[in-house]
Amino acid sequence: MPKPILRINGLEKSFGALKATNGVTLDLYPGEIHALIGPNGAGKSTLIKQIVGEIRPDAGSIDFEGQPIDRLDAADRARIGLARTFQVSQIAPELSAVRNVMLAVEAREGRVFRFFRPVSRDLDLIAAAMAFLHDAGLGERAAIHAADLSHGERRQLEFAMALALKPKVFLMDEPMAGLSPDGSKRMTAFLSELRHTAPILLVEHDMEAVFALADRISVLVYGQVIATGTVADIRANPEVRTAYLGDEAA
């Protein structure tokens, strides 16, 4: 058994009286897609935010590649290889799609504080960004302002930016949200390939996609993991059925 690349230990976070995450323990192994499912407000996004360092947990710890990362801030965690896609696409609306990705490339290269060379003449940077846009299926729309992209295209742009960071782990918050059935299918195919690049912690409501993609599934309810297992385990788990899957699995 290989070692987990990401290990989350007893993470706790309260907002006032509400325990949004209540002692969550999970891990992610190289090459796998670990899906995290749960009803609305279960604390999935809050968990992702704690992993990437956007919010600080009240208790618990996070290890990445065997090292604790609790003291690192969000930028540091991104730099060591945690890439995140957001539940609501986060892009620079006034920049073109390719510029958004070019910034991700330069950030990964650690060459942001360069003041003289115009990026429009930086052919290597442009080529690198274009390659990631193509991988995300957005090559044709490179010159469009991000504000003018459709909802689905913004999702693709998010993925191009995440790819450009060449991360060691992807943390994805509902990548299928708002996509058409067709779009979801394409996204499913895309993610299924992506796991060979880096393992994915996948928060998702779309059960069809989850069952198709996940190597393992964890179920989060009221901030607690009530079950972790393979697709078959989870489908068969009576507790999960009553707590969450309900009639969907019946």
């Binding site: 969000a74 930028a75 991104a78 730099r79």
Partner: protein, 326 residues
């Protein structure tokens, strides 16, 4: 070429033509006005790097304008009075050499902008506006109550500082110096906003969360923009002191910070030449309204108010028919 580019070239050529034409027809006062517009425009262009491109509404950039001015005033008056600038830890003489003065102004402003920016950027939004204002005010009161450099009365520069063998007392020569530096600053700002750093600055303004998730701290990007912008404004301040051959705490006043913002907004936020256009319009308005009435700030205020309420995107927005940030 886009309409905006044409407008930019036109405004620069126009400013140059006005100065040359006025000089040829024996109107040094107009040359002086054009110089003023060029210098104030330069300050606006500098502020725009933080305000327009970085989204950092600094209401304290007069501090850096004044620091530039005082750098010029202090160095020059020391040299002209044959007094050392300081005697401890090393004895330093003053100077009347413009390049040394410019360099001093820019470095001094950068060094002061660093802690001010670092403190102010711990917050954002309205906090940032009020805090930058407060720090500028601190420097203002310091200048007023510190007697060594003229206090409230300011410092005079008897003869304009020197640049090689040029006759800097000639209005046209001085205009050309200011104009050349304006082009330089404009060029540098343009280059910076189109560089890798410019992309990061755009992201820091539009989506700091995303920038962080790429591993770049928005704070660092913003602080850099703030400091660079302060340096550009300080260069303008040094020239302004030389133009008037006088520097006083008014150069540090909050009123001036407000005017710098006005230049940026009048012309159009986040446009390279916007602040220059804004400064030209402001100088013209000041001149024209000042000729009409003693109470010229009243109509000026009304005009500004109308611009904010109804002409969003500034003059460039009106001409090109779209907002920079739309």
């Amino acid at each position: 070429m886009s309409r905006e580019t044409i407008l930019n070239v036109a405004i620069l050529a126009g400013l140059l033509a006005v100065a040359l034409g006025a000089w040829a027809s024996g109107e040094p006062f107009v040359v002086q006005l054009a110089t003023r517009a060029a210098i104030l425009g330069m300050a606006g262009v500098g502020l725009n790097l933080a305000l327009g491109y970085g989204g950092l509404v600094s209401f304290g950039h007069a501090a850096f304008f004044g620091i530039g001015g005082y750098a010029a005033g202090i160095l020059a008056s020391a040299a002209q009075n044959y007094e050392p600038l300081m005697t401890w830890p090393v004895e330093l003489p003053g100077t009347t050499s413009m390049p040394i003065i410019w360099l001093t102004a820019v470095i001094a402003a950068g060094l002061i902008a660093l802690p001010i920016g670092a403190l102010s950027l711990r917050t954002g939004g309205v906090h940032f506006i009020m805090i930058t204002l407060a720090f500028a005010q601190m420097i203002y009161y310091f200048a007023i109550s510190w007697p060594a450099y003229g206090g409230e009365d300011g410092l005079s520069i008897y003869v304009r500082n020197s640049l090689g063998t040029l006759d800097t007392m000639s209005p046209l020569t001085f205009f050309l110096i200011a104009f050349a530096l304006l082009l330089l600053v404009l060029g540098l700002v343009l280059v910076a906003t189109r560089s890798r750093f410019g992309l990061a600055l755009a992201m820091a303004r539009q989506n700091p969360l995303r920038l962080t998730s790429m591993g770049v701290r928005p704070f660092n990007v913003r602080l850099t923009a703030f400091v660079l912008s302060a340096m550009a404004v300080a260069l303008a301040g040094a020239l302004y002191a030389d133009l008037n051959r006088f520097v006083s705490p008014t150069m540090l006043s909050w009123h001036l910070s407000g005017e710098l913002i006005v230049f940026v907004i009048l012309g159009g936020v986040g446009r390279p030449c916007g602040p220059l256009i804004g400064a030209c319009i402001y100088v013209l308005l000041e001149q024209w309204l000042g000729g009409l009435t003693d109470y010229w700030q009243f109509p000026l205020g009304v005009i500004l108010l109308l611009v904010v309420l109804f002409a969003r995107g500034g003059v460039i927005g009106l001409v090109t028919g779209r907002n920079a940030n739309a």
